[in-house]
């Protein structure tokens, strides 16, 4: 617990290098705990060789508020901490939405909502075709992002085709104008193995993210109460 607390403190410091603030906006930190758990306890990756073929793939579909993502990538060694100080700058590589051609460790360039999950589907198929059966694809969206119809196309398809190497993570802070109610209850009839866990509960997040069965899995990281 103490190690986790120190690690999170460190991530907050790295976010502060980008925002210049000691207290950060919710958009900067809503996904922080999920990202910490993913990179510290779930994903297999090699920061020295970001394109390592046997890695798990993580796609940040919700490209907004990427400071926590950049902080985690820097902390894990994908690029030097000094890059964080050039956040949004002309001579930096870290922008308001991540660019895979510039930032080591970024699988896919996102920002326009509703693109990540369809691309993750294609990556999930491609891993199967390459017989990388142990590898998994994680894609992170926001709850409001799920207003975009392309997500539901992809949710319908992945559930119907039982893409069991795909995991959807929804950071649910109830930010959408159209409230979706229980996402877990909506995803299950589409053929997803969905569950809701506390968005800052590291043990529950890690356990839920590690699940793998015969269907795609969804982890709804609930931040509606705790934040």
């Amino acid at each position: 617990m103490e190690a986790a607390r120190r690690h999170l403190q460190e991530l907050h410091r790295l976010i502060g290098l980008q925002t210049g603030d000691e207290k950060h906006a919710a958009s900067a930190t809503s996904a922080l705990d999920v990202l910490y758990v993913l990179y510290e306890h779930v994903l297999r990756f090699d920061p020295v060789e970001p394109a390592w073929e046997l890695r798990d793939r993580f796609l940040l579909s919700k490209g907004h508020g990427p400071m926590a993502f950049y902080a985690v990538l820097a902390r894990q060694g994908f690029f030097p901490e000094a890059e964080l100080e050039r956040f949004l700058a002309w001579d930096g590589i870290l922008g308001g939405h991540p660019d895979r051609l510039r930032v080591p460790g970024v699988e896919v360039s996102t920002g326009s909502l509703g693109h990540g999950l369809p691309m993750a589907l294609g990556v999930a198929y491609a891993l199967r075709a390459k017989r990388l059966t142990d590898q998994r694809v994680f894609v992170l969206t926001g709850d409001a992002e799920l207003n975009e119809g392309t997500n539901w196309e992809a949710i319908l398809h992945a559930g119907s085709r039982r893409l069991d190497n795909l995991t959807l993570i929804v950071v649910d802070n109830g930010s959408g104008t159209l409230q979706l109610g229980s996402l877990e209850a909506k995803l299950r009839p589409f053929g997803w193995d969905a569950e809701t866990v506390g968005g800052r509960d590291h043990a529950a997040l890690a356990r839920s993210l590690r699940r793998r069965g015969s269907s795609p899995t969804a982890v709804v990281a609930d931040l509606r109460v705790a934040t």
């Binding site: 699988e107 369809p118 589907l121 491609a126 075709a129 398809h157």
Partner: protein, 302 residues
């Protein structure tokens, strides 16, 4: 006419390549699933029919491309070029990924279906995507040449098949303009399936004819070498689509450009593609009149 239609020849070539080349992926959205049935059956890991969801079709193709596959995508032109334009732009163009996008139903090939299935703006739309090549073959054999070129040397390419075809296939060099007839006056650039009509109506005119199957990027050096002061582009999509490509290649001289293509107004009719050609002045009578006018003006100027 014993040869298969262009779309069927493309499908057969792709299925053949698909069997041989494990780096190819195929992504469909119901349309033409019958033509690719053997690929879908034999290679289910890399041949996917996503269902009726064209934006996700393009996203899935991008996922395959991210993992090193060359994805082939096929559907009806408006549902790819217009409905899924942002996926083409961001998932492929912005991320610098390769893929082959084959459409049917460009302009009004589905005349009987009406304007919901028309896409005269497809080439202008997809050509706005960074890095997109656009190829418009005039016959099935030329289409197969262009398909093989993309699969041999991967690029981001939009291939527009057509129900109208020229009577004979030419030996085309992908990327290049081909000089078909040398003359003294105006230079006529005929795109894909419109070549036969252009040759028919210019048989008695002193004009040069260039044949374009790759329209973006356009072969500037060949155009510069062939063109005089009058250039006519005969294009089977929105009139003016290639104007910037042509004038951009000819900035070293004053040029009078006449674009002849599909008009912007929506025609609320069905019928056949030939009926729509006539309505837009792309039949022989319409082309004879408009090209003839330029040729006459060009003669007077000389």
């Amino acid at each position: 006419m014993s040869a298969l239609p262009m779309r069927q020849q493309v499908a057969r070539a792709l299925v053949g390549r698909f069997d041989e080349d494990p780096s190819l992926a195929l992504v469909l959205a119901e349309i033409s699933a019958d033509l690719f049935a053997s690929a879908l059956r034999r290679h289910p890991a890399r041949a996917v029919n996503v269902g009726i969801m064209e934006q996700t079709m393009v996203g899935v193709a991008a996922g395959f491309a991210l993992e090193g596959f060359v994805p082939v995508v096929h559907t009806i032109a408006p549902f790819l070029a217009e409905r899924s334009l942002e996926q083409l732009k961001l998932d492929f163009g912005y991320q610098r990924l390769h893929g082959l996008f084959v459409t049917v139903g460009g302009s009004y090939d589905y005349a009987e279906s009406g304007a919901t299935h028309f896409a005269p703006g497809d080439v202008a739309a997809v050509a706005s995507v960074p890095g997109m090549r656009v190829v418009v073959p005039g016959t099935g054999a030329e289409a197969v040449t262009l398909v093989n070129d993309v699969l041999d040397r991967p690029s981001l390419t939009y291939l527009r098949t057509s129900t109208a075809e020229n009577a004979e296939s030419r030996t085309i060099a992908p990327g290049g303009l081909q000089r078909v007839r040398d003359g003294g006056g105006a230079t006529v650039v005929a795109v894909g399936p419109l070549l036969d009509r252009v040759l028919a109506v210019t048989a008695d005119l002193d004009v040069s004819v260039l044949y374009a199957t790759t329209v973006a990027p356009l072969d500037g050096p060949t155009l510069r070498a062939a063109a005089g002061a009058d250039v006519v582009v005969v294009e089977p999509f929105h009139e003016g689509t290639l104007a910037a490509e042509v004038t951009g290649a000819l900035t070293d001289r004053p040029v009078r450009l006449t674009s002849i293509g599909v008009g912007r107004e929506v025609i609320h009719r069905y019928g056949t593609p030939a009926d729509h050609d006539r309505a837009h002045g792309l039949d022989e009578a319409g082309l004879r009149e408009r090209i003839g006018r330029v040729a006459a003006g060009s003669r007077r100027a000389a």
